[in-house]
């Protein structure tokens, strides 16, 4: 599939309770590269293999959670078209001027039915991955610093109105449904995993009564071996681990869930399969939600449904 329209999750702005402690964690334990700080005090990071200026933005606040997630679209014309399409669909949008986030162009901001703030943007400065575009080496020292993920990959968000949200993403934003978990009634969505690319998921949702909650943001590693190395680094640094290393039945990824110093859950994972828009979605029934989420334990841990920020 040619990736057109919405291409990928590009940035996430997180709220943290203690900025210095969080910067230390994201830089030296997770191993992201700090790329800037702005007048508002926000600190910007990217994973070593990402080319755009920033993907994770930290903002000190009095509560944890996610302010917004931004998706990069193909170009300016796509941004204008999607803004019109959203408005025609009945979603009110707002323009955030270029530069409000460092090295980032104009953004189209709107709220989705789960209560989360989403943004689309076409431009973010290419600062490269530390390698030239001509004759690069396969990796750089920064790729071994801390856990050292390749990229910010996806998020799992908790909120109500999954059916309406799915319609918006598939009918307006060009996503396709990859996997879903049904509720006890065998019809309603308990969870959905959607993609705008080849990735098994670019975004996922679990049905939850409180709007706008973050379950986790996820970072991609290369191999299962690197997932085990990540677990060692977490333990060395006394990181609060939720579960893992284990495997998800959904998307087949090998994974660890853990928490940042403010209690925001993050995931470091590897693997999973590739998807195409013509693939029939995979369905998990309510009685199999255990192995769907945690394939080895075959049951949810009690934190999965109740601990969010």
């Amino acid at each position: 599939m040619a990736t057109t329209g919405v291409m990928r999750p590009g940035h996430i702005q997180l709220r943290v309770l203690d900025l210095d402690e969080s910067v230390e964690f994201y830089k030296n334990v997770l191993g992201l590269v700090e790329t800037g700080r702005d007048a508002a005090g926000r600190v910007y990071f990217k994973a070593w293999d990402e080319r755009d200026h920033n993907s994770v933005v930290l903002r000190q606040a009095d509560r944890a959670g996610m302010d917004l997630i931004g998706f990069k679209v193909k170009d300016k014309a796509t941004l204008e078209k999607l803004d019109k399409d959203l408005q025609a669909y009945g979603v009110s949008t707002e323009r955030i001027p270029a530069g409000e986030l460092l090295e980032t162009g104009e953004r189209v901001r709107f709220t989705i039915p789960t209560g989360h703030v989403l943004e689309l943007y076409a431009d973010k400065t290419d600062v490269g991955n530390g390698q030239p575009y001509t004759n690069p080496d396969p990796w750089i020292p920064a790729s071994e610093h801390g856990i050292g993920p390749h990229r910010f990959d996806h998020c799992l968000l908790y909120g109500p109105n999954l059916e309406d949200t799915l319609k918006l993403f598939t009918e307006v934003l060009g996503f396709h449904l990859v996997e879903r978990v049904l509720m006890e009634d065998g019809k309603s969505l308990l969870a959905m995993f959607i993609s705008c690319s080849h990735k098994a998921h670019d975004l996922a949702f679990v049905c939850h009564p409180e709007p706008g909650k973050l379950h986790h943001l996820s970072f991609l590693l290369g191999t299962w071996e690197q997932v085990l190395r990540a677990a060692d680094i977490m333990s060395m640094n006394r990181v609060s681990i939720d579960i893992g290393p284990t495997r998800h039945g959904i998307t087949r990824g090998t994974t660890i869930y853990a928490f940042d110093p403010s209690g925001n859950r993050f995931e470091t994972f590897a693997g999973g399969y590739e998807t195409y828009p013509d693939h029939a979605p995979i369905t998990w029934t309510f009685d199999q939600v255990g192995p769907a989420i945690f394939y080895h334990d075959r049951k949810l841990n009690e934190r999965f449904l109740s601990v969010v920020t």
Binding site: L17, R63, A64, G65, C207, P211, F259, S262, S306, T309
Partner: protein, 112 residues
């Protein structure tokens, strides 16, 4: 040498020895004791909410979403952000509530 203090969970009568350099929640977990729900361990999710009934303690910044200024003044805190400075007696407020939507319709009503 770290100092140890006795922590009593009044709801269940559970008593455990907590080090002065670890949080009330970590101390409980390390000894495989139960009583306070364990979530993020970072002051962000609110499930470990407790009220300190007696004793001295040291606290770190915690999410305002779950502990208001008034509550904090009334010694209502998150157990993962509090270290003991003396023996502590506490009661548990936080719950590990399963927030699954029963059906989409109910959620819509709930979200109003």
């Amino acid at each position: 040498m770290s100092t140890f203090f006795n922590v009593t969970i009044e709801d269940t009568g559970e008593v455990y020895r907590c080090r002065s350099d670890e949080t009330l929640l970590c101390g409980m977990e390390r000894l495989c004791k139960r009583g306070i729900p364990v979530g993020c361990r970072g002051g962000g999710c609110g499930v470990c909410k407790i009220q300190i009934l007696s004793g001295e303690y040291q606290k770190r910044v915690m999410s305002r979403e779950y502990v208001s200024v008034e509550e904090e003044a009334a010694s209502i805190v998150l157990a993962c952000r509090v270290r003991p400075l003396s023996d502590i007696s506490l009661s548990v407020i936080g719950k590990m509530k399963k927030n699954v939507c029963a059906t989409t319709d109910k959620v819509r009503e709930g979200a109003g």
